[in-house]
Subunit: 335 residues, 2 copies
C-alpha cells in the first residue's frame, strides 16, 4: 500500500485576514524520486509572514501560489530515499519543501544540516532564513555603531529577536516594539533589550519611544510598518538608517492604508530607507551562517520557538502568527 | 554721506504660501569691515526652495530666520573693501550673504570666483550649490548606469535641469516632470530629455509615466514629492535608487498631507530611498565643481536663468519660484 502524503493547498485567495477555509488539507500518494532527486519527509515546517503575499493573485517578487497548489514554505526534513550522489537516507536537509509531509527535491535545492551543531529546527530560525534576514538586513543596510540607538519593530518575532540581539552584540542601545506583555518581558528579561513596549497597550507610541530613546533613533529595523514606523520616523537622528524587512501591519488590509508623508523628514535628516529581500544576499549566506552559529554557540544569541503539532495545524498557526499570537519563531512539527 | 544698504527682512512667519507682506524692505547704513572681514556688494542673489523652511519657527537642520532678521541666501558679489589678505577690491566672490545689497563677510565664508571661467551668475547655479546638489545627489546616491531609466521631478528647476543632464551624460534614458508646457518643450528640445510631461495638465501621471518609462524606473531624483512620487514609486524596478533632494509640493501646506504607504513596495523592489543635504558633501565640493565646469565647457551642460531686477523684487520672485513660475534658476540681479 502506497504511503499517504498530507498536504495543505491554497483553496481560496483571502480577502483581508486569511481564514482556515482558505486552505485545504488534501491527501496524495507519496511520490518516488527520479534520477538526481531526493524524497524527504519533513520534520519541521516554517511559517513566515511573507507567505501571506504568495496567497495574493498579484505577481510580486515571486510567483503567487495557484489555487489548488501546495502552499509554499521552508522546512527541515530527513532524507527517505536519495537518487542524488550528495544525499543519503537519514540526512537532515532544509529547503523550500512546501506545506506537506513528504516532498521531492533536486539536490541543488537542498541545504544539508549538521544535527550536531544545533537543534535541526534552528535551520528555519536563527541559523536559517530569519537569522540571515536579520544579519544582512541590519548589518549590511544599517551598519550599527556602538552607542547608537536601534529600534526593532516585531522585535519578538523570528527575525526581530535576532536583529535586536545582533544590535546588542554591536554595542547599541536596543529598543523593541512588540504586541504583548509576555513578549515585552521576554525582550527585557531574557534578551537584554534596553527598552521595549507593547504597542497595543501604550496610549502614545511616539511619546513612549521618545522616553525610551532619549538620544533619538539612529537605526530602525522594521518588520511591521504602519503607525509604529510613523512614530519612529519623527524621532530619527541625522544620518539615520532604516532597514525595511517586512510590513506585517499592512499585509491583511482590504484597502491600502494612508499615512503621513515623510520624504521631507528623510531630507532634513539625510536619512536612508532601504527595503531588502534576504535572497539578495544569497552569495554571502555561508558567511552569515558561520557568524550566527558562532554567536549561538557563544551564548550571545538566544531564540524561542512556538511549535504547533501536525500538518493539519498549519493554517491556524499561520493565521495566529499574522495576528502576533506566537511567542517566537512559528514552526509546525510533523510527526 | 553714508551709503544705504537695502535689505529684505522676514516680517512675519507665513501660514501656507508666503505673501509679499511677510517680507519687509528696510534701509540701513552700509557697514564697515573689521579686521579679517570683507565688504561686498552683491550682484546676483539666489532664490531657492530651501529658504521656505527657514521662514518657519521650527528648528530643522538649520536655524530659522528670526523675525526682523535679513533673509538668508547665497549671492555673488564683488569686493568693495577688503581687510582680509586673500581678497582685493573688485574680486568676485560667492557666499551666504543674505537678501541685501551690501554685506560683511569673513574671508573663510567666501569662495572666490573666476569671472573668466563662466558668467559669475553660474556660481549660484550650475557651478554652485544647485549644480553640486544635482551632482552628488544623483551620482553618489543613485549611481545611474547606462541604459537605465531616470526620472527627475522639478526637472526644469535649478537642480533638476542639471540632474537630468548628468543622467544623460551617464547614458541613461531621462524623463522629466515639470509644471508648464514651456518647461516641457525646453527639456525635450534644448536639453535632450527622452521624455517629459506637464503634471499640471496630464490626466493621469501614473499612466503617462508608464508610457514614457516602458522598462520601468531605475532611478528617481525627487525635488517635488506628493502625488508625482506616489506614481513613480509604483513603477520602480528591482534595486531602484531614489534620491530625495526636496519636497517643494509640501513646503506650503497648512496641514501635513497624507499619502499611500509604500514601505512595502521598497521591500518587494529591494529599493533604496535616501534624503540628503548638499552640505553633507562639502569636502568633495572641489571635485564636483571641477567636473561640472568641465562638462559646461564641453557644452554638455546647459542652463537657463530667470532674472528679476532689484532687491525689492526678491519677495515676489521667491513666491513665483515656489509656485513654479520661473523658467530656470531664479536669480535677482542687484543694480
Amino acid at each position: 500500500m502506497a504511503k499517504v502524503n498530507r498536504q495543505i493547498t491554497l483553496a481560496a485567495r483571502p480577502v483581508g485576514f486569511p481564514k482556515v477555509s482558505d486552505f485545504h488539507l488534501v491527501y496524495s500518494p507519496v511520490p518516488s524520486p527520479g534520477e538526481g532527486e531526493v524524497l524527504v519527509r519533513s520534520v519541521y515546517l516554517s511559517l513566515d509572514p511573507y507567505m501571506r503575499g504568495r496567497m495574493n493573485a498579484a505577481e510580486s517578487y515571486a510567483r503567487p501560489v495557484a489555487i489548488g497548489e501546495v502552499m509554499t514554505g521552508g522546512a527541515v526534513a530527513s532524507v527517505v530515499e536519495s537518487r542524488h550522489a550528495d544525499f543519503y537516507a537519514g540526512d537532515f536537509v532544509e529547503g523550500m519543501l512546501g506545506w506537506q509531509e513528504y516532498a521531492i527535491a533536486r539536490g541543488h535545492e537542498l541545504r544539508k544540516i549538521d544535527p550536531g551543531l544545533a537543534p535541526v529546527s534552528t535551520a528555519l530560525g536563527v541559523l536559517g532564513m530569519p537569522g540571515l534576514t536579520a544579519y544582512f538586513g541590519l548589518l549590511d543596510i544599517c551598519d550599527p555603531q556602538p552607542g547608537e540607538t536601534v529600534v526593532v519593530s516585531g522585535a519578538a518575532g523570528a527575525v526581530g529577536m535576532i536583529a535586536g540581539q545582533i544590535a546588542k552584540i554591536k554595542g547599541c542601545r536596543v529598543v523593541g516594539v512588540a504586541g504583548s506583555d509576555a513578549k515585552i518581558s521576554w525582550l527585557l528579561d531574557d534578551l537584554g533589550f534596553d527598552g521595549a513596549f507593547n504597542y497595543k497597550t501604550v496610549e502614545d507610541s511616539y511619546g513612549t519611544l521618545m522616553e525610551l530613546c532619549p538620544a533619538g533613533i539612529d537605526v530602525y529595523f522594521d518588520n511591521v510598518g504602519g503607525t509604529i514606523s510613523d512614530a519612529v520616523l519623527r524621532l530619527i537622528n541625522a544620518k539615520a538608517r532604516i532597514s525595511v524587512c517586512g510590513q506585517i501591519s499592512q499585509y491583511n488590509l482590504e484597502e491600502p492604508e494612508m499615512g503621513p508623508r515623510w520624504l521631507g523628514q528623510l531630507v532634513l535628516k539625510q536619512a536612508k530607507v532601504q527595503g531588502f529581500l534576504v535572497t539578495g544576499y544569497a552569495q554571502r549566506f555561508p558567511i552569515g551562517l558561520r557568524q550566527l552559529a558562532k554567536w549561538l554557540n557563544q551564548g550571545k544569541l538566544k531564540y524561542r520557538e512556538e511549535v504547533a503539532q501536525g500538518i493539519e495545524a498549519a493554517p491556524q498557526a499561520f493565521i495566529g502568527m499574522l495576528q502576533g499570537r506566537n511567542q517566537g519563531k512559528q514552526l509546525v512539527q510533523l510527526s
